[in-house]
Symmetry: C2
Subunit: 427 residues, 2 copies
């Protein structure tokens, strides 16, 4: 057992040494006593983003004041959209950076249903992030005209077979709304396959990319995607509450109209026309004034991702995952851990859920720096999921090695028993 | 003329000396060669807000990472709401801090119309900020069931008599949507009078407080207001794109349901319930993840306003306005300037529009530091409005004196003629 552990330690060292992305870790604020596996929830802070916010606040707001809008803020959403377009295989005019994921989803679901008259079913699944379901439920409730939400159901709590989903898409299906990479298990749909099937049946598809953008290779245009939304604070490292984005394929956008019209989506806001005239491309889906301070992190943070390249990032993510699964099988299975994510890499995003009936207390022990040599930060999602976000820009193989060591120690030495199950949530 | 000018100079000095709020200017980043009269568009930066953003980014995001949510971010919207409640005469549970003004207006207009079944008219006016009209137009278009927007019209481009507005409120009126203080002229409605009349006719009223919050005394509960929205980056000094707020009176909230449901408005988001259950009070109107970095400016900036007190702020605002009008009458009327705001103080917010057919070029000359001793920053709103935002927290009587001097000099010496009328907008 000891020898086996040493083998993995050496392997981790070799993998880190050979990692073509190893220098990117230095772009982030890290700490030697912190191991951070929650980049799937809130990405680490790029040094350049910290500088960008400081400049924006102290120099631009503080000194340029209102002139900041003409200097640089006005076009900031477009500059960010251009970077997201590169990252997601889209054109700049298909992306708008605005609002939150939920508000963007609201716009696109509402717009889609208005176009798909006569079709009453909205299909999603019970692995979806609840907020996405709430958005649909609110729209169904407010329309009150026979629209309904149907959920494909997971059998194992981890995944839903494409065929299981696809067989529910029929001539009555207006819209399919799916999270590309599931928040709990990291299960990933085949975007192209689902989209093609939906199109065959005359349905539109909206993808939530929140756990996918920056985590897996995405090519929206090539997949024939209709629409997508997503947040920027997970693998895109935008900071807490950085603004969301939406994507509307060129082929779709002239056929759908969001019900949410506002001045940033207007053709020329500073003409102050009393009648709304939609702006060009995806910019028409913008609404109120952009949250400039929160948005100022995104140009530098996306530039880091673009410099690393999604192909290399995905490759490293898979390697990190493979290494974690190998160690899990060797050391954690005997301690009653189970995998809460698909074992098949093609069906998995960039986080891995490891489940244990004591998951909540184990998470607390990991985080508590007094229980070990590090603060190790994953997060917990009920009922039993310890989510390990593998962020290839900054996570190392050695960190994975140390995580498994700690998980083993926390169980085998009963360390988790010091923690209670009732206190505040572990986000 | 010279003596008269000197008289005003001395008066300005005396007024500044006697100003009980004079120490508050030191709370803001100012510059001796800048005179800033655009606080009605983007407020100046409080030093404490600059510190708060830096702490949030460098210490909280940078070091605490995801733990920041439990440490302090999760309750930030509520902490800001509590301060806004104090400022606006409301209870904490009637205010939510979220999204943009336009998105919040969308939620409340949609919710109101769903309740006011059978009533088809939405009343507003043509002084309203266009984005508010766009929001209504988008909803009318998407409902497509006979709802329509009717606009009361201004006769003088400055104001609309309460009676002119009120006579259009009838038994078919679902909703009245008005900006409390108009963006162009600063014309201010009597909130209580309009609300009472609307209630007599069974209509609901939504107020946009963007140009009113922090500028005039507002007591939402006492006025019997139903609903309100507003931004925080003008007189509330939240910085570019800081998040907006909404108000829903306790008496109304159980009768209206926003169509926009999302996880921050859910009863317990971290239970991840698949079915939406509305949260308590106004928090149910929250949607996606709060824009924490952009929101982090607001606690300190609102604390400054609360320390100064709205009564004293309004008093100083009126004194600044009176002084500006006196100098305008003496020096600017002869140069073909006109007042673009109500002369009656009870009908006016905290900015004053001064109109001139060369308004755009005059604005450019004011801003250009090479044309005078200062950069003087007002803003311009077509067709001819030079808006002078009087922010009582930091503007001085001497600044008003210097502004009028410069306006006089720019016209009488023909300085404005160096500037063209076609280049980029003056925001």
């Amino acid at each position: 057992m000891k020898d086996k552990k040493e083998e993995f330690r050496q392997k981790a060292a070799l993998l880190d040494e050979a990692d073509p992305l190893k220098d990117f870790r230095a772009e982030f604020k890290t700490s030697s006593d912190l191991i951070y596996f929650d980049g799937n929830s809130l990405g680490m802070m790029p040094h350049k983003s910290e500088k960008a916010v400081r400049k924006l606040v102290s120099d631009e707001w503080g000194q340029r004041l209102i002139r900041g809008w003409n200097d640089s803020w006005w076009n900031m959403p477009q500059r960010v959209a251009a970077r997201l377009a590169s990252l997601l295989g889209a054109s700049e005019d298909e992306i708008a950076v605005c609002d939150s994921t939920s508000v963007n989803l609201f716009k696109l679901v509402s717009a889609s249903l208005a176009r798909q008259k006569g079709r009453k079913k909205i299909l999603s699944d019970n692995l979806n992030f609840p907020s996405d379901l709430y958005v649909i439920q609110g729209i169904v409730e407010s329309l009150d005209d026979g629209h309904y939400l149907e959920l494909a159901e997971t059998k194992d709590g981890i995944s839903i077979h494409d065929d299981e989903l696809i067989k529910r898409i029929d001539e009555n299906t207006a819209l399919v709304v799916l999270t590309h990479v599931s928040f709990r298990s990291a299960f990933m749909y085949d975007m192209k396959k689902v989209t093609e099937w939906a199109h065959n049946k005359g349905a539109l598809v909206i993808w939530d990319l929140s756990h996918a953008a920056g985590a897996v290779e995405i090519n929206l245009d090539a997949a024939g995607a209709d629409m997508a939304v997503g947040c920027t604070y997970k693998y895109l490292n935008g900071g807490p509450g950085s603004p969301a984005f939406l994507y509307v394929n060129r082929n779709v956008r002239n056929n759908i109209i969001s019900p949410l019209w506002a001045w940033l989506g207007e053709k020329n806001p500073f003409e102050f026309s009393l009648d709304y005239r939609p702006g060009e491309g995806a910019s028409r889906y913008m609404t109120g004034s952009p949250t400039i301070i929160s948005m100022s992190t995104l140009e530098p943070s996306l530039d880091i991702l673009l410099a690393a390249g999604m192909e290399r990032l995905r490759e490293k993510s898979l390697k990190l995952g493979r290494f974690l699964v190998e160690m899990y099988e060797e050391f954690l299975v005997p301690l009653e851990f189970r995998l809460g994510s698909p074992i098949d890499e093609d069906l998995r995003g960039s986080h891995i859920s490891i489940c244990h009936k004591e998951g909540f207390r184990i998470c607390k022990a990991l985080i508590d720096s007094e229980s070990g040599r590090y603060e190790i930060i994953p997060d917990f999602r009920p009922p039993e999921n310890i989510r390990i976000g593998l962020a290839p820009l900054y996570n190392t193989f050695f960190e994975v090695y140390e995580l498994v060591n700690e998980l083993e120690r926390i169980i085998s030495q009963g360390i988790f028993e010091q923690y209670d199950t009732t206190s505040e949530s572990v986000t």
